[in-house]
Amino acid sequence: MSPQNHADARGSLDLLVLKTLSLAPLHGWGIGQRLEQLSAGALEVSQGSLYPALQRLEHGGAITSEWRVTDNNRRARYYSITAAGRRALATETASWKRFASAMDIVLRAT
């Protein structure tokens, strides 16, 4: 669990969760699994930290939640992205990309 791969920083975690949910609705554990999948193991998420992030996003109106029954006949809370969430995702992705390239430019300077 190397520090630089830790995706617990608040802003980036929200972004990751939004991206994951934009692909399909999931419950909390599923989001963690999918994230690991998508990043091919490069990103690790401390699983518990997902839940404050999910509540934050829900209070901001970017995602909604509802109780559903899983394949194993258990009750789980599923989260889905809203229209506003998709808009936020687009904006944040763009700004993240701008940030990354700006960092890149500075770090490449000699």
Binding site: H27, G28, W29, G32, Q33, S46, Q47, G48, S49, Y51, P52, Q55, R56, E58, H59, G60, G61, A62, T64, R74, R75, A76, R77, T82, A83, A84, G85
Partner: protein, 888 residues
């Protein structure tokens, strides 16, 4: 959208705290199970898998805390807590809560009802484009009585051409609506109609609710007669029939097609049910033989050109009238212009009463707030220990004030809800009680605007009632109170405040009760007015003959006389007569100027306009009008015999002051006019037959000598102790003359209630206010005196320890009560003296400074105040001196 969703989620998590917490735990639990299952599936032992899962998850508790912290909304939570605490403490002190909420409910309810009435009648815009730029014009004599005289059609047309101050001018039939009976199919409907020129509705710029409104093309000779009806008529008489535009109304044999319905809130001139165009349908007037363009008479309605002032417009009309003098008969010389804006004309004469009612209600609301403030103050002083503990535990003054304000907010909200419910009930009652003459009465309702006003009023009440005591309660050296444990004596300024508040309340109560008393006396004097005729045992039957059934006058006269003789033949009937118009039909009667034999033109111009009645021989006997001099009409007064008239005393005095009028000659119209001279054969007193509030001079002509319409309504006088059922009267009429339709029937006593409906309404309103205000004042005195007794416990206890008896202590307290009440009464009387003159226009038969009313009300209020103080005074007498000395 997203903000709303998010907010909803936050609120839900706040309100269902335990449910949200449980959900959080369940989710995390589920997560751990899924992770454990995955690790087991990858080969680990269940115990090891569980351990690894928990490590991977992280510290669950810290995440839970983080989530809980996220959910907090500190201000909202604090408010919510305060509200729940306030509700709990109020539930503990039930009697205080009931009195406080009840008081506020009364105040807020009364304020809401009054606002809905004022809003519906005055504050709402008429559905007319820029109503304030529309004016109503007529003329009045420069000398003589303040009368309302019409403008002739010729004048209307001339002024329309020449006026620059008015961009458009239309005419509406003189004196507003006339009660007629129109036939809808087979049904006889009593309606109020008026005639308007073609440009009337285009000038006003009203958008119809259905169909279209009258147009200039409708106002032409030979045009198809059409009509438009008011919204109220459409709802009440036609049941909001959607096929209304195909129906017709018949008047005088002419079928008028209904082409439109007016929107709600318009029935100008007064309470018109149907508007008809002038040229196709204006009825002939008495002077039908004269020049028609002089005969058609109107009030003018004009739209003032932009940039012109009302005053300038009036000056222009004045100049116009003077210019036209040369072209008029001498009768109409010396006229001046009268001009009012349209809104003023619609509700001008009721605006005084409404403002008075609003002022009364504001006083009531203030008193309610003050009472609640007082009650909260008392509570505050009881709760000082609790507040001191809070303060010691760290609550700042602002925090305590906020909590106390929340309590008053809770009280106000409960009071406000109850008050709105009360208001809804009252508005419905008003809707049914309100006299038909109340302008815009259909617009009085509890609508969105009114409810919003109620909300504002509630919040204001909460602030006022809560702020004062909150600020005062939280003040002071709390450590002293913590040690002492009993209520601290109030500071100097505070000590003056309470009695000042009580004095104010008593004064206000006195003011409102005096006003109510004046209204009651005014109503009673109106009910006891001498009508000029005998109103007992008199039955009034209004009938109508559908036009076209009988045309010849002779047949109509025979019909009338036959009906009279048949009715007179009924057992129990003394006399019967025909009458032209039902009683109290102030407009729509026949009015005419008169001139006596020896009067000059100037004297004629100064003569009042008289009420013309066309009557049969039994008229005076049936109505019980005494003939002061001369004789009544006989069967000998008919076609071909000498034209005669009977006049009332005021006419005789005017024409021949101090002389006997019998034998002198008099005529309708100017001395040099075309009317025939009548010989005076009898003199009577004045009657109030036409208008309850003004006794009018009457000019009587015999039916058979009069060329106008034959009166077909009947008055039946029954013998003492005889009972004649109305059904028999109907039966007799329908048997003999089935074509005669009965429109309405009833006793004269019942009809007397109509013109009194307005004053009765005002009186009921003010009496209700007065009762509530007096109640509030009593509660206020009681509360203030209770508090005072509590404050003075030590002093009173010491007095008793030093030898004063319970009776003496009681009388000390009662003396304090009487003193305050007396000061309050004095202030109140002075206030009433000064302000009641504003009500002068509404009072009949009683002066605004009527001593009896003032004295009676003062006595009432004093007694009430003393009664209010009785219980606290008795409680003072029961103070235990030992306990007080011990310092409890």
């Amino acid at each position: 959208m997203s903000v709303w969703l998010g907010l909803r989620a936050r609120l839900r998590s706040l309100l269902h705290r335990s449910a949200t917490d449980a959900r959080m735990k369940e989710e995390m639990q589920m997560h751990l199970e899924l992770e454990t299952d995955r690790l087991v599936a990858s080969g680990l032992e269940p115990a090891e898998a569980r351990r690894q899962a928990r490590i991977a998850f992280g510290v669950a508790e810290s995440y839970k805390e983080e989530m809980r912290a996220q959910r907090r909304m500190p201000y909202l939570e604090a408010f919510y807590r305060d509200v729940r605490y306030a509700l709990r403490t109020l539930a503990r002190d039930r009697s205080f809560a009931v009195v406080a909420v009840g008081t506020l409910a009364l105040g807020i309810g009364a304020a809401t009802v009054t606002y809905s009435v004022v809003h519906g009648i005055m504050l709402r815009d008429l559905p007319v484009a820029q109503a304030q730029d529309v004016a109503v014009l007529w003329q009045a004599p420069s000398l003589g009585a303040d009368e309302h005289l019409p403008v002739s059609y010729a004048d209307l047309q001339a002024y329309r051409e020449s006026s620059r101050a008015f961009s458009a001018l239309a005419g509406v039939a003189f004196q507003g609506a006339v009660d007629v009976v129109m036939l809808s199919g087979d049904e006889a409907l009593p309606l109020a109609v008026t005639w308007v020129t073609g440009d009337f509705f285009p000038l006003l710029g009203i958008a119809p609710a259905r169909g279209r409104l009258l147009r200039p093309e409708d106002d032409a000779v030979g045009a198809e007669p059409v009509t438009v009806i008011s919204n109220e008529t459409w709802t009440n008489q036609f049941g909001s029939d959607t096929a209304i535009l195909d129906r017709t109304l018949q008047l005088d044999g002419r079928l008028h097609r209904i082409v439109g319905v007016l929107p709600r809130g318009f029935s100008f001139p007064r309470h018109v049910d149907a508007w008809l165009p002038v040229l196709p349908s204006y009825p002939a007037t008495i002077e039908a033989s004269a020049d028609p363009s002089q005969a058609m008479v109107f009030d003018l309605v004009g739209r003032i050109s932009s940039g012109t002032q009302l005053r300038a417009a009036k000056a222009e009309f004045d100049a116009f009238l003077r210019d036209r003098e040369s072209e008029r008969p001498s009768a109409m010389r010396g006229m001046r212009a009268v001009l009012t804006s349209l809104p003023e004309r619609v509700y001008g004469d009721i605006s005084t009463a409404l403002w008075a009612a609003s002022a009364a209600v504001l006083v009531l609301l203030m008193m309610a707030c003050v009472n609640v403030a007082n009650l909260l103050l008392i509570r505050g002083s009881i709760r000082t220990q609790e507040l001191a503990v809070r303060s010691a535990l760290g609550a700042g003054r602002a925090r305590i004030v906020r909590q106390l304000l929340t309590e008053s907010f809770v009280l106000a909200t409960c009071g406000g809800l109850l008050g709105v419910i009360l208001a809804a009930v009252c508005v419905r009652v008003i809707g049914s009680l309100a006299p038909p003459t109340l302008p815009q009465r259909e617009m009085i309702a509890l609508d969105g605007g009114v409810l919003l006003a109620a909300l504002v009023i509630t919040m204001l009440a909460a602030l006022i009632a809560g702020l004062l005591p909150a600020l005062l309660s939280a003040r002071g050296d709390l450590s002293l109170w913590l040690r002492g444990g009993h209520a601290a004596p109030p500071g100097a300024a505070f000590r003056l405040l309470r009695p000042a508040l009580v004095v104010g309340q008593v004064a206000m109560a006195l003011l409102v009760v005096i006003c109510a008393g004046l209204f009651v006396r005014s109503l009673r004097s109106m009910q006891q007015l001498d009508m000029g005729f005998d109103t007992t045992r008199l039955m009034v039957v209004e009938t109508m003959l559908p036009a076209g059934s009988i045309a010849e006058r002779e047949r109509l006269v025979l019909l009338q006389e036959d009906a009279i003789s048949r009715l007179a033949a009924l057992p129990g009937v003394s006399t019967v007569t025909a009458m032209p118009k039902p009683p109290f039909s102030a407009q729509g009667g026949w009015l005419a100027p008169f001139s006596g034999e020896s009067q000059t033109d100037e004297q004629f111009a100064a003569n009042p306009v008289v009420n013309l009645e066309v009557v049969g021989p039994a008229y005076f006997e049936t109505f019980g009008i005494s003939i002061l001099r001369g004789r009544s009409f006989t069967d000998g007064d008919r076609e071909g015999s000498e034209p005669v008239a009977i006049i009332s005393r005021s006419i005789a005095q005017r024409a021949w002051p101090g002389e006997n009028p019998i034998g002198k000659r008099i005529k309708l119209g100017p001395p040099t006019g075309r009317g025939a001279w009548h010989t005076v054969v009898g003199e009577t007193g004045e009657t109030r037959y036409r208008d309850l509030l003004t006794s009018q001079p009457n000019y009587y002509l015999p039916t058979r000598q009069f060329a106008g319409p034959v009166p077909l309504s009947f008055a039946v006088r029954t013998a003492p102790a005889a009972v004649v059922p109305i059904a028999r009267v109907h039966g007799v009429l329908s048997e003999a003359h089935p074509e005669l339709r009965v429109v309405s029937s009833g006793s004269m006593r019942e009809r007397l209630a109509e013109p009194l409906a307005g004053p009765r309404f005002t009186t009921v309103l003010f009496t209700t206010f007065a009762t509530i205000t007096l109640l509030l004042a009593v509660v206020g005195v009681y509360g203030a005196l209770s508090a005072s007794v509590r404050d003075r416990q030590r002093e009173l206890g010491i007095r008793m320890a030093l030898g004063a008896t319970a009776a003496q202590v009681t009388s000390i307290v009662l003396g304090q009560c009487v003193r305050i009440a007396a000061i309050g009464c004095v202030v109140g009387v002075v206030l009433a003296w000064a302000t009641s003159r504003l009500l002068r226009s509404l009072l009949i038969g009683v002066s605004t400074t009527d001593a009896t009313t003032y004295a009676a009300v003062t006595a009432l209020v004093l007694v009430a105040a003393v009664l209010a103080g009785y219980l606290p005074a008795r409680r003072a007498g029961r103070v235990d001196p030992v306990a007080v000395m011990r310092g409890e």
